[in-house]
Symmetry: C3
Subunit: 158 residues, 3 copies
C-alpha cells in the first residue's frame, strides 16, 4: 500500500512554506501520497493574488483581506531581520544555487498532484471565499483533516 | 481499539493554542482519545489566573510569574502586528462568525475529557507549582510524554 | 523491535532546541532510537564555533556565515523580549534548578548516540560546508529524511 505524508501548514511564513513544499515535492518523487491542510496563516500561501474580492465582507474582513499576504511572493520570513537577513537576500542566495524559489515549489506541488485542503473555520473567521484561492483547494473541516491524518504514516504541524 | 491523538503544546500563543484546542475538541467529537502535553510557553494556557502564588519563589521566578501570560485571555498572537492585525481584531472576527474564542475552546476540551499533562521540568525551571494550574493538569516528565506518544496514532508539536 | 523517534529541527531558537534535545535525550534513556534532521535555521545548533570558514563563499554567504548564530550558545529565544525575559534570565533560572543548559543537552545527545542529519539543500543555499559542523553531522537530502521518518514511530517538526 502507498505510504502517505500529511502536513498542516499553520504558519504563513516564507521559509516554513518552503520547508513544507520541499517535503511535499520530495515525497511525491518517491511515490508517497501527500496532503497539505492549510489552516490560519497557512492559507495565505494558497491565495490567488489575482482573485481578491471585497464583496460581502465585514469591515474587519476587508481590512484583513487587504493587509495580509496575497500569495506566495508576499509571505514574510519566520525570523524577520534575523541576523539582518531579509527575504530578498535569501532569494538571491537560493537563485545563486539554482534552488527553485517558493512559487516554483508551489507550482511543482500542484503539478505533482499534492492534495490541497483548506480549513473551513479559518476561512470563515477570516472572511475568505473559495474563489479567492487556487482552484485545487478543497474546503474541509478539522474532522476531515483528522481522518486523513489517521490514515497517514507521517504527520507534521508546520 | 480507539484511535489516539497526542499533542505537545510548546508555544504560548493565542492562535496556536486555538489550533491545538480545535484539533483536540474535534478529535473527541469523533471518538478519538486526546492527550495534550503542555511544555514551556504552552503552560501559560493552563495557568489558573486566580491562583498565582509568589511564595517560595526566587526573585527571577517571581518576576517570571508576574510578567508572563496568566491564562488563555492573556496569550499574545504568534505574529504580533502581522498586517497590523491585533488579537482584539481577531477576537471580533471570531465572534462575528459565532466561532467560540480561546477560553470557550479550553472549557470544551476540559468538559470533553481531553487529558492534560504538564511538563515537570518546565514547571521547575519556571518556578511554577501544581496549585497554580487548572486542576486537571497532571505533572509528568518527558519520558511519560514519549510513552504516550508512542501509543498514539497522530503526534504533533505545536 | 526498537521504537524510533524522528525530529526535524527547523527552528534556530534556544528554547525550541532545548525542547528537541530533551526529547532526544529522554528517548535514548528509555532505549528509543533517535534521529534529528537539522534543516534551515536548525543547522545553527550544530555549527562548530571554532570552524567558521569564509573561503569559497559568495558575498552573501560570507555575510550570512558571520551574522548568524555560531553554535548553541548563540541561539536567540523563540519569543524575544517575551515578558521582558531574555535568554540570560532563563539560563540563570535553569542553573538555579540544576537543569543542564543547551550545550550540555547537545553534548548529552552526542554521547548517547543520537543520529544527526543535516539538510543538504539548506547547507547549499546558506553556503555552509560539512567541515563547519560538528563531526557527527551526516549530510542527507529530504528524501533520506522521509525514508527515516516513515520507519519511525513518532515524528515531530520543531
Amino acid at each position: 500500500m502507498k505510504k502517505k505524508l500529511n502536513l498542516i501548514l499553520f504558519s504563513g511564513e516564507y521559509d516554513k512554506a518552503i520547508a513544507a513544499l520541499i517535503l511535499a515535492n520530495s515525497a511525491k518523487e518517491i511515490d508517497i501520497d501527500v496532503t497539505i491542510f492549510f489552516a490560519f496563516w497557512g492559507l495565505m500561501l494558497v491565495r490567488d493574488p489575482e482573485k481578491m474580492s471585497l464583496e460581502d465582507k465585514t469591515l474587519f474582513e476587508k481590512m484583513f483581506c487587504v493587509m495580509t499576504p496575497k500569495g506566495p511572493e508576499d509571505l514574510p520570513l519566520s525570523r524577520m531581520n534575523f541576523a539582518g537577513m531579509g527575504k530578498e537576500m535569501l532569494k538571491v542566495m537560493m537563485t545563486d544555487d539554482d534552488a527553485p524559489t517558493l512559487p516554483a515549489f508551489l507550482k511543482g506541488a500542484r503539478n505533482k498532484g499534492v492534495k490541497f485542503y483548506g480549513c473551513k473555520l479559518s476561512m470563515e473567521v477570516m472572511g475568505f471565499k473559495k474563489e479567492e484561492f487556487i482552484p485545487e483547494l478543497e474546503i474541509v473541516d478539522a474532522k476531515d483533516y483528522l481522518q486523513d491524518a489517521l490514515t497517514s504514516d507521517v504527520q507534521l504541524f508546520i
